[in-house]
Amino acid sequence: MKTLDEFVALFAEQLDETDPSTVTAGTKFRELDEWSSLLALTLISMIDEEFDVVLKGDDVKNSETIEDVYNIVVSKI
């Protein structure tokens, strides 16, 4: 099982325009300038590959920070 820090690093890898060093567990990802439905599907796809967990739309919508997403992923494993 990947740690929260590893999850944050994987999350940051999916971003094109955001400096990875500014991305933390507390980052409110939906407030990022580059946040879009396309980025959402890239993240969903990454989480499926890495954790074998398929997120629902509400899982993304109801999460505020990257840590919130991590907690949902952990709860579904």
């Binding site: 879009s36 439905s37 396309l38 959402a40 599907l41 890239t42 969903i44 796809s45 499926d48 398929v54 997120l55 629902k56 739309g57 509400d58 993304v60 919508k61």
Partner: protein
């Protein structure tokens, strides 16, 4: 194969004129739909009849030689009888003809092929028609209405001894039943009460019959399920998906399909698309892509396809096959008044 579409073209830019222009362009760019066909007059049976007539003429098949007809649609002319009975009579097919509807959406062409292929395999049916598509579906007034186009596609199959036929991977996840749904049009929420009677008296009453979609749930399903069903098919039958001449994915969203093809390492020119000009036509989206993008390119030589339909259900189907002597008809455009002389109950 043949495709019939309404003559009327709707340009999404025109529909969205009142919105912010940058917003419009980014929406069109991301989803990939600039125009789509629409009719408020024609039904899906009309389009399927036109497509089937053209295909039979181009194949040179006698109508009496057709043993089976399968109509796939979520928008039949009537809740009963089924469209396949109406279409059997309108096409003048034999009364010995097997006729069946399949009530499915985005995965419907692949499911329809699996049923028809089984009938052919059993040996009772030598020639069969698969007719698919949607018309007049009501997506309400939100942006999802910009995604959908009307079309009817016909696919003909003929039994040939020794042909390796079709290979399928089919699946279902009904826990996502509400991801794409028409919640008020079936028996579950039908109530004979005063409120509904009043609603039906209002001019905008169609709104209660509209389909709804949870977009992000559908995105999530698409990007995760499609690579899995393709891999499962290829592993089971020892196939290499990269060795197929064409990958044809259900046409719902250009960005999703690009993402899937890139992730799977499929060359972009093999992953053909028709979404820009026809939008999402549900069960018609794979055959409309083959007929409009490959006419004149694949006739006369064996061509291998990997096709995947996925969506409402949630339901998915992947099929691998090789065409031999394929005949592709010209796109048929249908006038709204083409059938105005016909009378119906």
């Amino acid at each position: 194969m043949a495709t019939a579409v309404p003559k009327k073209v709707i340009h999404n830019k025109d529909v969205m004129q009142s919105s912010n222009e940058t917003d419009i362009n980014s929406f069109i760019e991301q989803i990939g739909i600039s125009e789509r066909r629409n009719s408020s007059v024609l039904t899906e049976a009309d389009l399927q009849v036109v497509a089937a007539e053209r295909m039979l003429a181009d194949l040179g098949w006698e109508k009496e030689s057709v043993d089976a007809i399968i109509c796939v649609t979520l928008t039949p002319d009537y809740p009963l009888p089924i469209n396949a009975c109406l279409v059997q009579d309108r096409l003048g097919l034999s009364k010995e003809c097997y006729a069946q509807d399949i009530c499915m959406g985005c995965s419907g062409w692949v499911y329809g092929l699996s049923v028809l292929a089984t009938l052919l395999h059993n040996g009772d049916v030598k020639r069969g028609l698969l007719l698919v598509g949607e018309c007049k579906m009501n997506w309400g007034l939100d942006r999802n209405a910009l995604l959908f186009g009307h079309a009817g596609c016909a696919t003909a199959l003929e039994y040939e001894p020794g042909n390796e036929g079709f290979r399928f991977n089919l699946g279902t996840d009904g826990s996502g039943y509400d991801a794409v749904i028409m919640p008020k049009s079936g028996m579950r929420n039908m109530k004979y009460d005063e409120e509904l009677i009043k609603e039906f008296e209002r001019p905008e009453r169609q709104l209660s019959m509209e389909a709804k979609m949870k977009n992000l749930d559908v995105f999530s399903f698409s990007v995760t399920r499609v690579p899995k069903t393709i891999n499962e098919l290829c592993e089971h039958y020892g196939l290499d998906y990269k060795k197929h001449d064409y990958l044809v994915l259900h046409q719902a969203n250009k960005s999703i399909n690009k993402h899937i093809a890139k992730k799977m390492g499929v060359e972009p020119e093999k992953a053909i698309s028709s979404i820009e000009h026809f939008g999402n036509t549900l069960s018609a989206s794979i055959p409309i892509t083959i007929t409009t993008q490959l006419k004149g390119k694949i006739e006369g030589k064996p061509t291998s396809f990997l096709c995947c339909g996925f969506g409402v259900g949630l339901s998915w189907g992947t099929v691998s096959f090789t065409t031999k002597d394929i005949v592709i008809s010209d796109l048929v455009e249908v006038d709204d008044n083409q059938f105005e002389n016909l009378t119906w109950v």
